[in-house]
């Protein structure tokens, strides 16, 4: 399976995402924001970073970059697409997921190993988890506050589209502790925390068994291996 990772000007975690894809047993393929070529990939990751300096709004300019026309078409056709942090912001700006992300309510950038609850396993990127499973992956953002109007929030909850919720603390003021979403079809998932930074023992969050041994993020990338196009 070939998984494309899009590099935008200002992407930071594109290489980490490619490493995660490789560790999961798939072939990472570098994609470039300025081209209209998905290079025949079977799934796409929009990585973290500060695309276009986050000018205008986080993810706003990247959402209108050349390759996003193809990414949006592919997502609407059922191809698995994962947006991590800035990638999540790009997905909401591209209207592939509802709502918006605003500056953290406390005003500061935050970095912490974040405990999450997996709320939905009905997606291409979460099917390897169990419903209600608790995981720890790193979080690092300045504009991670998820917002949407009450009607949208109620619909997301009612249709089971909340994919991840923050546990212990709400690190950025996200409404209803929402850390990540999936779309109705389950092929598109976006979240603020970074699964690609918890895929190899020795380089992940601390666990009770050993320092930096957390690899909960790897399941995102092994999940997508099970299915390429959702119907």
């Amino acid at each position: 399976m070939r998984v494309g990772v899009v590099t935008f000007p200002g992407s930071l975690d594109d290489r980490d995402a490619m490493r995660a894809v490789r560790l999961a047993g798939a072939e990472p393929v570098a994609l470039w924001h300025g081209e209209h070529d998905l290079k025949g990939v079977d799934a796409i990751v929009l990585p973290g970073g500060f695309s276009y300096g986050d000018y205008l709004r986080a993810g706003a300019i990247a959402a209108r970059s050349p390759i996003m026309a193809e990414v949006i078409d592919a997502a609407n056709g059922g191809m698995p697409v994962l947006g991590i942090c800035n990638g999540f912001q790009i997905l909401v700006e591209a209207h592939l997921l509802p709502g918006g992300l605003i500056r953290n309510d406390h005003g500061d950038f935050i970095r912490r190993d974040q405990r999450l609850r997996v709320e939905s396993t009905a997606s291409a990127w979460t099917n390897g988890f169990t419903e209600g499973q608790e995981i720890v992956i790193p979080l690092k953002n300045g504009e991670g506050g998820y917002i949407a109007d009450e009607t949208t929030l109620d619909r997301l909850e009612g249709e089971g589209l909340v994919a991840f919720r923050y546990l212990d603390v709400n690190p950025n003021g996200s409404l209803r502790d929402i850390a990540g979403l999936r779309n109705e079809r389950g092929n598109v998932v976006g979240l603020m925390p970074h699964p690609e930074h918890a895929v190899e023992a020795g380089f992940g969050p601390d666990t009770t068994s050993a320092m930096r041994s957390g690899t909960d993020g790897l399941t995102f990338f092994t999940s997508v291996l099970k299915q390429s196009v959702l119907n």
């Binding site: 706003a60 209108r64 605003i102 500056r103 917002i147």
Partner: protein
């Protein structure tokens, strides 16, 4: 050269941490009659030629689709300014 000015503000019901930080600085300077600050954006779109109704419509469309995000912001004004003060 005519200029179309677009002004965008964070929605009134949303917390505006940047505005809150500015308000804090004003209060530290001792001015407590100013109770609250909200911080938005002003875009100046420079136009080659005349601004007609069609171009204003285009600017309104761009304001809604690109320059603002309706989930978190409101476009509060789209208007033509014939002269824009540079600096202050």
């Amino acid at each position: 050269m005519p200029t179309i000015v677009v002004e965008v503000m964070p929605k009134a019901e949303l917390l505006d941490p940047a505005g809150k930080a500015v308000a804090g600085a004003i209060h530290r300077l001792g001015e407590n009659r100013i109770t609250d600050v909200r911080l938005g954006k002003r875009f100046e779109l420079h136009v080659d030629g005349e601004v007609d109704d069609a171009l204003l419509d285009t600017a309104r469309q761009l304001a809604a689709d690109l320059l603002s995000n309706g989930v978190i912001e409101d476009v509060v004004s789209v208007h033509v300014a014939q002269t824009v003060t540079a600096g202050a």
